[in-house]
Amino acid sequence: MADAFHQPLLKRTPFHDRTAALCMPQNWRRWAGYIAVGSYDLGVDREYWAIRNHAALIDVSPLMKYVIEGPDAARLLDKVTPRNIARLAVGQVYYTGWCDDDGKMLDDGTVTRLGEQSFRLTSAEPTLRWLAMNAVGMQVAITEVTDRVATLSLQGPKSRAILNRCCESPVDGLKYFRMAANRIAGRAVTISRTGYTGDLGFEIWMDAGDALPVWDALIEGGSDYGITPCGILAMDMARVEAGLFMLDVDYTSATHAWIPGQKSSPYEMGLGWTVSLDKPGYFVGRRALEREHSEGSAWKMVGLEVDWEGLERAFAAVGLPPQVPAMAIRGSMPVYRAGQQVGYASTSTWSPVLKKYIALVHLQRPHYEPGTNVTIEITVEHHRRQAPARVVALPFYDPEWKRK
């Protein structure tokens, strides 16, 4: 009924009672129709270092989630994603992008095989319509469970120890990109060894009704390990270090693009490894992707490290020490080579762990080869300047314990 009348508000996640009580600076951000904590502190340092040194507890419930079930569930996912779903074992997770028939990215997310005929798909944008359109004639039920399934991301070197303490069964055996059922505070959860930070980490999926007891149990069990509620701003820095991109920031969905130049293919986004051209049969975008695979890509998203000494010189020229933003910056910055613009940065950030100024950049062929020297536009005391920089392979930060 019309009870929304007096409160035309953005949605709150199932963890809102806890997160709101802790969000001291009232730093809220919008995420897919929800409000999400930007940071729990005035700065992001403590939360960032929790990701890299302890364990950060991040409410990622706004992720769009769909359950796809039925005899043709695998067939549907095999058709809409470029990955070979036949090879996805029960309890395994694939990360993938998916495309329109021109081989241009629509969205990206994870596919988890919950059972032989049952999958969970996550996405950044609503995807129900796209799935339904592709499921015509298939025996498959597609259910959006975004509101029903609450999700926490526990990221950081201590995340496993915390889960071992809080869960009914230890998670030591849970491998990278695998998922298993478990219980926390007596509540049924599924735990996947996935995340958006490039560190050791897990995502915990539960019924929305179980959200608060699970949160409480993790906070209590994790306090000795330094568990720290963490907002999405610190996660944004970590994901750049991990070389992970974001829809609407680092690429535009083909359905949103106004002009062809705004679209990107999986190859251009560095997701060539997810495109299984060897799998049998048609999948959406196949022909275009085959063509691009043989002809090569015009663009590629790669890493960029700004040369710190060069940055220092640019600031020193006007008598200033170098200045970089303390958070990830979502804004386009032109990249040049020999005076010609050859691309742009879509997200840049100071990396506290690497002590480097880094960026996700999109460069035209042939300038995307690692080792290529370019310059990036910066603003020094209200003037546009060029800072020297070098193209590097992604990710920037890849700790050995991430996969171990």
């Binding site: 019309a2 929304a4 009348f5 035309p8 953005l10 609503p126 319509r129 949103h256 106004w258 002009i259």
Partner: protein
């Protein structure tokens, strides 16, 4: 006594006439605007119909008033403020509602409540319509249009081969072909399942037309509404401070500051033609004004069939103007209220009261409303677009009291047996009893009401046929066909006589583009 010799005489002090005059004066010309009524504003007037209660008597929202006009004429300095109209709510028969907000997430959430499928479809529908509008715009929106080089047959060729073809995919070509021919009901049924959503979207395809949502051609009208959004007039919908009379008052003030003379109570009888050129006008009071050019901002029928002797026009032009469809199909009920209407679906007072309220529970509802009109009756259960201006601008009503503006469709100009006081009252009663279903306290809150039929629009505002757009916004009456083939560039077959009103390209709404573009063409010819 001022001399009666001018560079330009503009007929009609509606927003287009005033804007044309202001632009001409801005270019250093001596300009007079002649207004038949004692007030300026045309159909954009604010009247205190009941003491203390002020109404935008006819047109009641500002749709896409061109931002460059606001800048060029410095309208904010002359008092123009366009206040936001942030939502549309459709009350449902079950006591719930469907709302649309000026925020994507809130709108999605609201549609999702009723239909998850439609929530996604709505996003994609808007994007596809916007893209189709962007694709078709360069071809149809040539300003001023070049009528001699474009025929309908040529457009297809242009779409395929022309300079715009490159940006137009095969898919878009098909989509546009469909949009041009479909009914809005057919289009919307391809996309959506929730009836009130379809009904509400369909309604914008029939406003000001004498068609129903199942009539072919109405899908295009939906597309037409997306044209503005891609044209720099983004977010220009709103409610003007002091009502729509506030818009024309600011333009009149700006025009006067630029040296324009505005004469009210000055009804034009004839355009004076000398040596095959328009040379001035004769007023009904016997005065004659001499001018180098005459620009009419009256409706096409008056401009070409009444003010000018047909001998000055080629037959096919006169015929085209005769055929121009100006059938009024809507009325207006302005209500003074002692309290806020209590809609069952929105008890108390909330943000949705500051937006539009659409009585459009389904496509069938709107189509049935049309069925009545087709056979010469007003709709017993009409489609309505309601706003409560006093919720947006508190100066419109006494404290604690309210004014309500109800745009009502259908009310045919030619009603069976003709409009008289009894029928007008019956029409008003149909409107009140329709509102009463959703807001039961309405009747006891009424302090006074004004019921306006298309006949009244014609009689008071002087628009032939009482059509709110001076002629329906149908594809065959738009762009290079508005008001007549080959004469969409604001010139007319009579040299020195120009046309810059809602009946000219690009058509209706308090947009001002026709007045500005007409003045631009006049100045080009003078150069």
């Amino acid at each position: 006594m001022a001399s009666n010799t001018y560079d330009a005489v503009v007929i009609g002090a509606g927003h287009n006439g005033l804007i044309a005059a202001a632009y001409l004066a801005r270019a250093g010309r001596k300009v007079v605007v002649l207004e038949r009524r004692d007030v300026v504003g045309g159909a954009a007037v604010t009247e205190e119909i009941f003491p203390g209660y002020r109404f935008s008597e006819f047109s009641y929202v500002v749709s896409l008033l061109r931002p460059e006009i606001i800048r060029d004429l410095e309208l904010p300095k002359h008092g123009l403020k366009i206040l936001p109209l942030p939502s549309t709510v459709t009350p449902l028969d079950n006591g719930d509602y469907l709302a649309g907000w000026d925020d994507h997430d809130l709108t999605r959430q609201e549609i999702y409540r009723h239909s998850p499928r439609d929530a996604e479809a709505a996003d994609e529908y808007s994007r596809q319509m916007a893209r189709a509008a962007k694709a078709i715009k360069p071809i149809l929106g040539l300003v001023p249009p070049d009528p001699s080089s474009l025929s309908w047959r040529d457009i297809k060729g242009l779409l395929r081969l022309g300079q715009f073809g490159a940006s137009l995919g095969e898919q878009e070509l098909y989509r546009i072909s469909k949009l041009i021919t479909q009914s809005s009901a057919d289009l919307l049924e391809e996309w959506f399942e929730f009836d009130p959503l379809k009904g509400t979207k369909a309604a914008s395809g029939i406003i000001g037309t004498f068609l129903g949502p199942r009539s072919p051609g109405t899908a295009y009208v939906l597309l037409h509404h997306y044209m503005g959004e891609i044209d720099g007039a983004f977010r220009a919908w709103g409610f003007a401070k002091n009502g729509n009379g506030g818009v024309t008052a600011s333009i009149a003030s700006s025009a006067r500051a630029l040296g324009v003379e505005i004469r009210t109570g000055a009804a034009v009888q004839k355009v004076i033609v000398r040596g095959g050129r328009a040379a001035g006008v004769a007023l009904e009071n016997g005065d004659e004004l001499q001018a180098t050019i005459v620009l009419s901002a009256a409706d096409p029928k008056r401009s070409f069939l009444q003010f000018v002797d047909p001998q000055h026009f080629p037959d096919e032009f006169t015929q085209a103007i005769r055929d121009f469809r100006v059938r009024g199909s809507s009325g207006k009920v302005n209500i003074a209220l002692s309290e806020l209407p209590q809609f069952t679906c929105m008890p108390g007072e909330g943000p949705l009261h500051r937006g539009a309220i659409s009585i459009s529970p389904s496509i069938d509802y709107v189509e049935r409303a049309y069925d009545d009109a087709k056979y010469g009756e007003f709709s017993r259960n009409p489609y309505m677009d309601i706003i409560i201006p006093s919720m947006i601008d508190r100066d419109m009503a006494p404290p604690g009291h309210h004014v309500m503006s109800c745009f009502v469709q259908y009310a045919p100009y030619d009603i069976e047996g003709g409009w008289d006081d009894a029928r007008r009252d019956a029409f008003g009663e149909a409107v009140i009893s329709t509102i009463e279903k959703y807001a039961p306290n309405i009747r006891r809150a009424i302090v006074g009401k004004q019921v306006i039929t298309p006949r009244d629009i014609e009689r008071i505002a002087g628009i032939t046929g009482g059509n709110i757009f001076h002629g329906e916004l149908l594809l065959h009456q738009l762009f290079f066909l508005r008001p007549a083939p080959q004469w969409a560039d604001f010139r007319t077959p009579l040299p020195g006589y120009y046309f810059g009103a809602s009946g000219a390209h690009p058509g209706g709404g308090v947009m001002g583009a026709a007045g500005k573009l007409a003045a631009t063409e006049v100045l080009k010819d003078w150069r």
